[in-house]
Amino acid sequence: MQRTVLLSRGQWMVFGGITVTLGVVLPLLNVLLVPGHPLQVSDFTLNLYGKYLTLAVLALGVDLLWGYTGLLSLGQALFFSLGGYAMGMHLMLMIGKRGQYKSDLPDFMVFLGYPGLPAHWQPFYSFWFALAATLLVPAGVALLFGFFAFRSRIKGVYFSILTQALTYAAALLFFRNDFTFGGNNGLTDFKTVLGHELNDPGTRRTLYVLSVALLGGVFLLGRALTRSRFGQIQRAIRDSENRVLFSGYATAHYKLFIFALCAMITGLGGALYVCQVGIINPSEMMPDKSLEAIVWVAVGGRGTLVGPIVGALSVNALKSWATRAYPDLWLIVMGGLFILVVLFLPGGVVSVPGRVSAWWRRRQARRTAAGVAVAEKPVPAPGEKSAESASTP
């Protein structure tokens, strides 16, 4: 009910344990053991996990909107990419004369015949400006779009479809070569970040540790947020927006705030993602990518903070493995998985233990026949809830 603590003691221990395992033990296993050792974590694996972790940040952003506020945004990939582009622009300028043409201009600008660096590229020489942009550009776009959308009460399916159109339009725009962001090829062939070689295993390890830290931080932030009064209102908006509105809360402001906040979180994730995968291009902002992130959340369990992380990591691990093991069939496996989860496991993977134990308790209760009935009804899925309150005027 009124927990003021962020996490209970036990939860802190688990959280700390996982964070240390991911953030300290794995990198140590990577750096201390020789390649070939059975416990050695290869550079490749570490880098791969780093990528998954940034995707988990994206998933958390989706979940704070969808699972907690009921806003299914198909535009999260856009914010992720915008963050990525902001960082990518900085990395692009840091290539300096090490590019193909030994020019200060990024390669694509040279061969497309740009006379000089466009003005809006100039400030990106500064790392801190770029970092600020990874937060502020997505937030700005989210504020602008959200302002109009929430003001005119666009919600539910309409919100999804409009965000999808937004991200699609943005992708088309970025595909354009004249848009000064490298067109279809996007930004790539980065060399250094803050003076460190991106290809250096040490840098890659640091980026990985930063990803762990970012994910941990976002997790705690999400935890704090959802446990606050704000979080209660968030979920109230999800379940019965009218009631909240008629209780004197300006729901549009709340939605705008969380939409922009999630855009910022997602943008940061995108920036770290780009540092680790080494490329950002417009296909990253196609609606499909947003849908993928939503599926991670659905598979993991929406409306929880652990769910999206579990979902993002497990689905991506599955994808990495399946694209190699079953190049022809993996899409069918993934598609089937989504359908099954939506149909039979609306609470996602993290709801499985709860379901099993509830079932077990019911069974026990039935066995003891005359025993007291379990006080709580089985937990319905969030989707059913919204259906319950859908008939308010």
Partner: protein, 407 residues
């Protein structure tokens, strides 16, 4: 809540376990195949996977490379460019492949390029591209712009006497760069800027009514041709519209640089008869090497048991043949170097190994491109090209921009 934490732990350990991969045997040499087998690019790239597997089988049947059998590691880039980089890392860092054959789009090549440079890998890239790139770790069997676009336009200028050019492309780097080069080239041949028009459409564009009507008016005052760098998928709606508007190849020919025999399988060839193409190989090339290649490949298709390979209605085209000669050139270089070591193989390749391929003799140059024959052909109703003109042994030049003006 506690249950969820446990789940998290379980999932994390699962993910860890998934990354450990089996070790490999010693009497084989691992070679990577990095193409999109799903997603939008699968349409083109699966054919390259097929021809690569065929080539490996063919080489293995003759004893392999340096006595070792080639073991193919096939991965799916899934038309997802960061995934390409990840798969490239996997091939290089985990599977330790001796060489990789793959990529179609420029963006996928750009995405994996730093990975190959960092791990000192070896990538053979088989698809016509815009040039403007030279990595020490990539060998471009692909056609450079001067091995496809400029000879093609040359044919329009000299053989057909065309005076007006409509440059139509998909909006991405290859068409843009190619057209930049072509504009310089045309200007150097005395074509005034007023006689050149340039238009771009988005990927997956389906409505070419406006553009075709524009071409029609552009061509109304005589001797015009269309130079198309539209990418695969948008060609069907374009050519349908083109034919229906009454534009004919005899009057206003279209020369396409991204349409090969493989694309014809999905194009209404009726609408395309007489339209032009320029490649360094056509299935209709007449040479003993090509006859042997086609026979062996089609026979292999008949009996292969690899899942997901189409057996009916298959053709050969330039990217396929360039993949094929890439493998043989790598083999030749390995044998010349006597080692799979990347530095030694690179040196051998740069020293100029040759192979008598289905499209004619190909030789690696010091700049990692191939000297090869170039053909201009026109489309026949059966989805083949009839060769109209050939250019023998053209030197591949990746950096063309600005070179014509200086002359």
């Amino acid at each position: 809540m506690i249950h969820s934490w446990k789940t998290y732990l379980a999932a994390a350990s699962l993910a860890l376990g998934g990354a450990l991969l089996p070790a490999h045997a010693a009497e084989t040499v691992k070679v990577g195949v990095l193409h999109s087998l799903s997603g939008t690019m699968a349409i083109s790239e699966t054919s390259l996977r097929d021809v690569l597997l065929f080539t490996f089988d063919e080489i293995n049947a003759k004893g392999g490379v340096l006595g070792k059998k080639i073991e193919a590691v096939v991965v799916d880039g899934a038309s997802d460019w960061p995934l390409f980089a990840e798969k490239a890392k996997q091939l290089l860092e985990q599977d330790k492949v001796a060489a990789t054959f793959g990529c179609w789009t420029s963006v996928s090549r750009k995405s994996v390029l730093p990975v190959f440079e960092k791990n000192n890998g070896l990538l053979f890239y088989p698809v016509q591209y815009e040039g403007e790139e030279l990595s020490k770790n990539i060998f471009y069997t692909a056609e450079a712009v001067n091995q496809q676009a400029t000879p093609g336009v040359d044919y329009l200028l000299k053989d057909l006497g065309k005076k007006k050019f409509y440059l139509l492309g998909s909006d991405y780097v290859y068409p843009r760069t190619t057209n930049l080069v072509l504009k310089e080239y045309l200007a150097s041949k005395g074509v005034p800027a007023a006689n050149i028009k340039e238009k771009y459409t988005p990927f997956g564009h389906t409505d070419y009514q406006q553009i075709v009507s524009e071409i029609k008016q552009f061509a109304a005052s005589g001797d015009a041709a269309v130079v198309s760098t539209l990418n695969g998928d948008t060609n069907v709606p374009f050519f349908r519209e083109y034919a229906n508007a009454g534009l004919k190849a005899e009057d206003v020919p279209v020369i396409s640089f991204s349409v090969s025999e493989d694309e014809f399988r999905g194009l209404p060839t009726k609408d395309l008869v007489g339209q032009l193409g320029a490649w360094s190989y056509f299935q209709s090339v007449e040479s003993p090497a090509n006859t042997a290649f086609k026979k062996a490949f089609f026979a292999w298709l008949e009996k292969t048991s690899v899942p997901g390979i189409e057996k009916k209605g298959r053709v050969t085209n330039s990217p396929m043949v360039l993949s094929y000669v890439g493998v043989y050139l790598w083999k030749a270089a390995v044998e010349k170097a006597g080692s799979f070591d990347v530095a030694k193989v690179t040196a051998a390749l740069e020293s100029g190994v040759s192979f008598n391929g289905p499209g004619g003799k190909v030789t690696f140059q010091k700049n990692h491109h191939l000297t090869k024959n170039v053909y201009v052909g026109e489309t026949l109703p059966n989805g083949q090209f009839k060769i109209l003109k050939s250019f023998e042994q053209v030197y591949g030049e990746p950096f063309l921009k600005g070179t014509f003006g200086k002359k």
